[in-house]
């Protein structure tokens, strides 16, 4: 099994697809950071005497659940509209204005952006391609004809997917740390490393584990369709369609608060709802996910974990069941 996993990593990491997907992921993070930096620059233009330290001081007195921070400000004001309308000595800005750019909060924010679903989408493409390659290239038949047992073959594929998910998240963490170092230096004028602690390491590891689980649920769903239809493209279409339909449906129900008003319970058993519930745990005050809108009484961390693990087990078990009986004649 270990040999199969090593061989799969050996061949898959020589493809251009994982790197293209990583590049897209990095570019979306850079784009997010650039937008945040532009917003901060506009704020500095309006309030030239505002500093990060004013924000940090104000944050200490702010409700942890609040999405906004109110900063006392008595410095110069350059925005013409503020000069006309008058200024009450306070600035209220979204909490993420600085957090997106300053370590360690920027890493936290990076997890938050995952709730938008782009990373899930990229991983779905990666998983479908990885599982479907064996069918497309005929290497699956070649492997089985060389005495590789079907359970070992598919088992190694799922293990490799877990490793790829971990590498995928690790790459994003490392890249976001690198970007965070640049933006922190720009915003504060230097980096303090006092955030490096066992707590931070624990946070990062637990976040990686939770996101790996979320990615694996989508990946195993996608893999199931790639196996059933013996095709990468079919798996991709199924995974992306499911994700999009789920995102649309949940946004409709959850953001409109239909969930709470009508006490609808079925969304609580969807992948997306539970994925977002866990992302809310990793990154409280998530601005993009459903975190703020989730009806917290309808689920718990344990329930969410169990639902996602349950989905994963069902999808993987179905994959094994179908693959073991599958006829692998020339297509």
């Amino acid at each position: 099994m270990i040999r199969l996993v090593l061989a799969d990593l050996f061949q898959f990491l020589r493809r251009w697809l994982p790197y293209v997907l990583l590049l897209i992921m990095f570019l979306s993070l850079v784009n997010e950071t650039d937008t945040a930096y532009y917003q901060l620059k506009c704020l500095y233009n309006d309030y030239p005497d505002l500093t990060y330290f004013d924000y940090a001081a104000a944050l200490e007195h702010t409700d942890p659940n609040s999405l906004y921070v109110t900063i006392p400000y008595s410095g110069e004001i350059t925005a013409p509209w503020l000069q006309l309308e008058g200024h009450n000595g306070e600035i209220t800005i979204p909490r993420y204005t600085f957090n997106k750019l300053v370590l360690p909060h920027s890493v936290n924010h990076m997890f938050e952006t995952m709730a938008m679903g782009y990373d899930f989408l990229l991983f779905i493409i990666l998983a479908a391609s990885f599982i479907g390659t064996g069918y497309r290239c005929g290497t699956l038949r070649q492997s089985l004809a060389r005495g590789i047992r079907r359970t070992a073959y598919l088992g190694s594929k799922y293990i490799t997917l877990v490793i790829l998910a971990l590498l995928f998240i690790l790459a994003k963490i490392i890249f976001s740390l690198a970007v965070g170092m640049i933006t922190t230096s720009t915003v504060i004028g230097g980096i303090t490393w006092d955030f490096i602690s066992m707590d931070t390491a624990g946070y990062l590891l637990s976040s990686m584990a939770l996101i790996t689980l979320i990615l694996m649920v989508y990946a195993s769903f996608t893999a199931l369709f790639s196996i059933v239809l013996k095709s990468s493209i079919a798996g991709m279409i199924a995974g992306v369609l499911y994700l999009q339909i789920e995102v649309y449906t949940l946004r409709t129900f959850v953001i409109n608060n239909a969930l709470a008003a009508n006490s609808l319970e079925w969304p609580v058993y969807t992948i997306g709802y539970n994925a977002n519930y866990l992302l809310e745990l990793i990154s409280p005050n998530a601005i993009y996910g459903y975190g703020t809108y989730l009806n917290q009484s309808l689920t718990s961390a344990t329930q969410s974990l169990l639902v996602l693990v349950g989905y994963c087990i069902v999808f993987i078990a179905m994959g094994f069941l179908i693959f073991r009986k599958q006829e692998l004649s020339r297509e």
Binding site: R3, L4, L6, A7, F10, Q11, R14, R15, W16, T133, C137, G138, T139, R141, Q142, S143, L144, A145, R146, G147, I148, R149, K325, E327, L328, S329, R330
Partner: protein, 310 residues
């Protein structure tokens, strides 16, 4: 001493579809391939060759029947397949990897070939100069050669080849023949499915003919070809001769070749009877010649006979 069986199938059957509408791809196939044989598995397209090989390799599940490798009915098929080299009906490689890395991939997963074995195999098929190039840049013939290298790199006891000469140029075919000869000299057993009958005739010691999933004939090449000879007659009335000979039961086939030339396929000993029959019916025989039948003639005659029976 009894010959050691390398492949034995008993009542091997594959039915596609459901109970109401099904197609029998392989019907009650009994096959025995002995150690050291180069066994040709011949049949027209859609006759069930690839399905049979798929079942041998565990890619297609038989509807009924049994398969046994190396006389071992107890071990799991996956374990026994480790001793088998395979050339698939279509080359199956990662196109983004080089030829060498493809071999390396399969060497890792099966743990039965070293770097040295890979280098030796790639050199044997003449791909050492292109080994580091991506497979997507290979021609069909080069992919086929790589498939041969892959099938041989772990020194298998049995090599199963499905249409191995597909895409090979004349030089490649000669090299392929040489490879088979070497394998045979080294005591390996080779099972080849091919439609290139002249090639099969040159390299195989034994053959089985399959059509519509059923074995029509099997045995050593010499045995099968020895049964039937092509007897050529130069006659005064070719059409009359054909009409006459077609009605004779023990003549397997009669064909008109050129003006006045008729070729009848029958047992050598009965040539004089044909001659006598023609003369007694007023057809002058100017010349008579007995030639060795080819596997192609035998194949066509057997397939025709099979069709007639059906």
């Amino acid at each position: 001493m009894a010959e050691e069986n390398v492949i034995v199938t008993r009542g091997l059957t594959k039915r596609f579809g459901n109970k109401k509408k099904s197609i029998i791809a392989v019907d009650n196939l009994d096959l025995e391939v002995h150690r050291g044989e180069v066994f040709g598995f011949l049949g027209p397209n859609g006759s069930g060759k690839t399905t049979t090989i798929g079942m041998l390799l565990g890619l297609i599940w038989p509807t009924s029947g049994s398969i046994e490798f190396f006389g071992d009915g107890k071990s799991k098929p996956a374990k026994l397949l480790r001793k088998v080299g395979v050339v698939m009906d279509s080359p199956s490689f990662f196109s983004h990897l080089s030829g060498l890395n493809n071999l390396w991939y399969f060497a890792i997963i099966t743990n039965c070939a070293s770097r040295g074995d890979i280098d030796k195999a790639i050199e044997m098929v003449g791909l050492n100069e292109r080994g580091k190039d991506k497979v997507r840049t290979y021609s069909m013939g080069m992919k086929q050669r790589l498939a041969v290298a892959l099938s041989l790199m772990h020194d298998p006891e049995l090599v199963i080849m499905d249409e191995p000469t597909n895409g090979l140029d004349p030089t490649g075919i000669i090299e392929f023949r040489e490879t088979i000869r070497r394998l045979r000299e080294n005591g390996k057993t080779v099972f080849i499915s091919s439609h290139l009958l002249s090639e099969v005739e040159k390299v195989c010691s034994h053959v089985a003919l399959i059509n519509r999933g059923r074995i029509l004939a099997k045995g050593s090449v010499g045995e099968l070809l020895g049964k039937m000879k092509a007897i050529w007659f130069k006659v005064s009335d070719a059409d009359g001769a054909i009409c006459l000979l077609e009605g004779v039961e023990w003549i397997k086939s009669v064909k008109k070749k050129e003006t006045g030339l008729v070729v009848a396929e029958a047992e050598e000993e009965r040539a004089y009877e044909i001659n006598k029959l023609l003369i007694s019916n007023g057809i002058h025989v100017n010349e008579m010649k007995i030639s060795e039948g080819s596997l192609e003639d035998f194949f066509l005659a057997t397939i025709d006979a099979g069709e007639t029976v059906k």
